[in-house]
């Protein structure tokens, strides 16, 4: 079985393409839901050490809101949707016609709106890549946490880190009305599922 850091550039390209299709579908879903122009950046595939991965998404003590879904079936891994206030406000303005100044002001209603948005985007992402690759994926019920990025990102690291000191993130960012906001959708597959997926697509070079 190939480790994350042993993936060839062709294999990484294929994963980036998968990320691109997933992110594109999530963007379309969000755009339809919000009736807003939603763009996306080219997804990135990164294989980083635990500390570097947290630094890449903003540093350990940055406060973010995270919606987490675990995937099982033929793709074991975690999807994490990280957001900051700029993105949250763009959404809340549309859904609840309100804005918040800080994370402390998130009430039950706001939280359930954000969980639902995250859920729909993650589901569209997974259903697109499941259709594309023919793999069967089951999703958990989404959970949300507003806290330090380091604590939130340690969850997939702990879950997937038993046999490795690295984590693979396939991440896409979204643009709301052409403005870049902090809104990162991450797919983190476990090593075994990654090998299975690449083999199934006929690109795994063993």
């Amino acid at each position: 079985m190939k480790k994350y850091e042993e993936m060839s550039s062709l294999e990484i390209d294929v994963l980036r393409e998968i990320g691109s299709i997933g992110t594109g579908n999530a963007a379309t879903a969000l755009s339809q839901m919000m009736n807003k122009k939603i763009g996306m950046t080219m997804p990135e595939v990164q294989i980083l050490g635990f500390n570097e991965a947290i630094a890449k998404f903003g540093g350990p003590e940055m406060i973010v809101s995270g919606v987490l879904v675990t995937t099982s079936g033929e793709l074991n891994g975690i999807m994490l949707y990280l957001q900051q206030l700029d993105f949250i406000n763009a959404m809340l303005e549309e859904v609840l016609v309100e804005k918040i100044e800080s994370f402390e002001q998130l009430g039950e209603l706001e939280v359930s709106a954000l969980v639902e948005i995250g859920n729909i985007m993650i589901s569209s992402y997974i259903s697109a890549i499941s259709k594309l690759t023919g793999i069967h994926v089951k999703l958990s019920v989404p959970a949300m946490s507003v806290n330090m990025l380091g604590g939130i990102m340690s969850v997939p690291m702990v879950e997937l880190g038993h046999q490795t000191d690295k984590i693979m993130t396939i991440s896409g960012k979204f643009l709301v009305d052409d403005k870049e906001v902090y809104s990162n959708l991450l797919l983190m597959p476990d090593v075994g599922s990654l090998n299975y997926l690449l083999k199934k697509l006929g690109v795994l070079n063993e």
Binding site: F50, N51, I54, P60, E61, I63, G66, L68, T70, F103, E104, S140, V141, A143, M144, S145, V146, N147, M148, L149, G150, G151, I152, S154, V155, M157, V158, E159, G161, H162, Q163, D165
Partner: protein, 161 residues
């Protein structure tokens, strides 16, 4: 702050002497273990992720409670620390997400706490103070001058252990 702060990363360990400080950021289900020998003002901190090392000897020992704690104590002993004088404080072991159905994500924090306590008991070290569990991340700072540990978290008061 004029004193130097040494950053302990995830699955990492560092030791220092006063007036330096050790800091580890945003412990989620991970646990930060502070060990302090007050006589010589020697401080050690390890940031573990998982309870038990099943990878074998070529892995990073500081990733696991059962191998990280003895390795930290050994390192401190090399620098003159004495186990019987060591004071221990721990923080972390939270449950960041309520994931349904109950998966391993839900209780890894709790399992880490149990493994840390077991590893410390094996070394004969008592935990003087702890701030573990619940559902939020903690930043842990250990002052090698005084042995005081400070826990910082989002939306809560700073806590001195």
């Amino acid at each position: 702050m004029s004193e130097k702060q040494l950053v302990v990363g995830i699955a990492d360990m560092k030791i220092c002497r006063g007036p330096q400080k050790l800091i580890t950021y945003a412990l989620g289900s991970c646990i930060g273990i502070c060990l302090y020998d007050p006589m010589i003002r020697l401080a050690g901190m390890v940031h573990i992720m998982l309870p038990n090392n099943m990878e074998g000897s070529n892995s990073n020992v500081f990733k696991y409670a059962d191998t990280g704690i003895p390795a930290t104590i050994k390192k401190m002993e090399i620098f003159g620390g004495v186990k019987s004088r060591m004071v221990c404080k721990i923080a972390g072991g939270a449950r960041m997400f309520e994931v349904q159905p109950n998966s391993s994500i839900g209780n890894i924090g709790q399992r880490n706490v149990e493994a840390v306590k077991k590893a410390l008991a094996k070394e004969g070290i008592r935990i003087a103070k702890e701030d573990v569990g619940l559902n939020y991340a903690r930043t842990l700072l250990l002052d090698a001058e005084t042995g005081a540990a400070v826990v910082r978290s989002f939306g809560r008061k700073e806590l001195v252990l």
